[in-house]
């Protein structure tokens, strides 16, 4: 029974490998086991966005009932985005839930995720804190997202100011990621972030 899923993924895997997006290095998949149930996906941050230059790793789990049910996808690479949980990497995208259709493929999923990076939907957020910042202070959001891309996804834009603030908290004994989350959540206001961490 699970043959259908494996057979289908095998074909889709080839489709991705041969696709022009792979040729342009925009998307990538790797098999993690022989049974085609777990894959590693990669998408690059789209140009002219805060994610540009970053490489984002995805965990893809294929259910036995694929393609009649969607694959389970989440971000392994930490990312600051209104529709992606900054904590778990869970993705809020309709096609990965009730709008999934059997005609969709790994390739269309990866391209949809890449599209999600260029066009966030803050009205349907997975991460309320990020969504709030996105709507109220887009500059701050862009800066934060670019900083996360630099730190976690290998993006080129180093932000000295952010790094310094994090270092100050780390010097106080705060774990680095926790410090980054607190500062990001409070628009890099170091006093409020400190207050939140030590309250």
């Amino acid at each position: 029974m699970a043959n259908i899923a494996a057979q289908r993924i095998r074909r889709e895997f080839k489709e991705v490998i041969k696709s022009e997006e792979v040729a342009k290095c925009a998307i990538k998949v790797e098999l993690l086991n022989d049974s085609y149930t777990e894959l590693k996906g990669e998408i690059t941050g789209p140009p002219d966005t805060a994610y540009e230059g970053g490489v984002f790793v995805l965990e893809i789990k294929v259910p036995e009932t694929y393609p009649f049910n969607p694959p389970k996808v989440r971000f392994i690479t930490k990312i600051w985005h209104p529709n992606i949980s900054s904590v778990t990497g869970a993705i809020c995208l309709d096609i990965l839930k009730d709008q999934w259709a059997a005609a969709m493929t790994l390739r269309t999923v990866l391209l949809s995720l890449q599209a999600l990076l260029s066009a966030a939907e803050p009205d349907d957020p997975q991460d309320a804190v990020v969504a709030k910042q996105f709507k109220e202070n887009i500059e701050m959001f862009q800066m934060t997202a670019r900083h996360w891309t630099n730190v976690y996804a290998g993006g080129p834009h180093v932000n000295k100011e952010c790094d310094d603030k994090i270092k100050r908290l780390v010097d106080m004994g705060v774990e680095e990621h926790q410090a980054r989350v607190a500062l990001s959540s409070y628009n890099w206001d170091i006093e409020r972030a400190t207050e939140q961490i030590f309250s």
Binding site: M1, I4, Q7, R8, R11, T65, P67, F68, N69, S85, V87, T88, A90, C92, K97, D98, Q99, W100, A101, A102, A103, P125, Q126, D127, A128, K132
Partner: protein, 456 residues
Amino acid sequence: MLQFLSFSKKKIGNSLSIYIKTNTGNTLSVDLDPTWDIKNVKELVAPQLGLDPGEVKIIFAGKELGDSITISECDLGQQSTLHAIKITKKPPPVSPLIEESDEGKPLCETLNDRSFSNDDTQPPSGTKVHFFVYCPTCKGLKNGKLRVRCHFCKSGAFTVHADPQNWTDVLEPKQITGLCENGAEFCADILDNREPTFADFYFKCSEHTSLGEDDEAVPLYLIRPNLKDVPCLACADVNDLVFVFPCEGGHVTCLDCFRQYCSTRLRERQFWQHPEFGYTLACPAGCPDSFIKEIHHFRLLSENQYVQYQRFATEEFVLRSGGVLCPQPGCGMGILADPECTKITCISGCGYVFCRLCLQGYHIGECHISEDVNSTNNADCSYNVDPARAAEARWDEASKVAIKVLTKPCPKCRTPTERDGGCMHMVCTRAGCEYHWCWVCQTAWTRDCMGSHWFG
């Protein structure tokens, strides 16, 4: 009224045993050699009717058969019925049309080409394509044969004015006109000559000996030969037989993937209770207006799965109609009770009396969930068992506890729901409910939930 005349004749190898019905109400049983033509048949039959061979016409599956057609060309099965009619006027008003178009060949031959409906693709000539049916006698997917009878008197002595061109012509009533030859005055009386008679198409299983003219099969018209080599939507293989979904694009899956699709949806209880068609599914590509109308297609499921399908369909119907299902393990009887009434008795089932709101045994006053797992089954034992141990070791109780601990009911339809990860935003998976609710508040999902406890 029916009179069977046995026919003595030489036995021929692989002969077909055929009934010939006349419009005088007689039925002859004859053995025909497949190499014979219709002229031979007329010569055989006419004397029995006291007629010349030239005065008889043979009707089968909506067509008058031409003299030169051989029996083997007619797609006759054992115990099929031919109709022998005395020609009243010459020539009959409709026969020129038929003769010039397809030389009196039987209907099934000419419709074969159209089993891929609504498009103009013709199969390679010489391929013999059958229809597919669910046969209640053989209990399964079988090849079928298209047959025709009079819409009004149901007589098979009927000729069509035109071949059906597509599935609409076949499945919808009153699409194709024809001439009823069953003692014309009979249908003329019904119709009073005000409207033409109509063909009524039906199907027979071609894999078992016909049990008579009422031995019908259900057309599984979404199953078609894959004449255009369309790859399956799910596995991308090209198979000989495909299931064509009734969506605009006509998405195609192979039959294995169709079964997989149905069993996946069945297991998740994601069939949809359609007000007109019943408990059904739509195209897996998510196309609008693509529900399967003929639910006999779900007969492709295994016997066990089909039983489950029927049970879910019934339960869903009861719930949709405002009813409740008896909560007693192993019962599950559907009960339609007065909506005001909270005390429900499972009258035609196990007799359990329960509260509609909490689905526990009936009680007076507010519902409260009993924490006492020792309350049931106090039958005498001749040996001693630690009651706490015994309570832990009970399967049903363990399930109950598991359900209580791991699930929360959907605030709208009370379906126990397990959250196996992700966020607190729940969408009820019961088809037709699909309520958005919050795992923490156990009420409708709001922006406040999003803001304060999206991840708990």
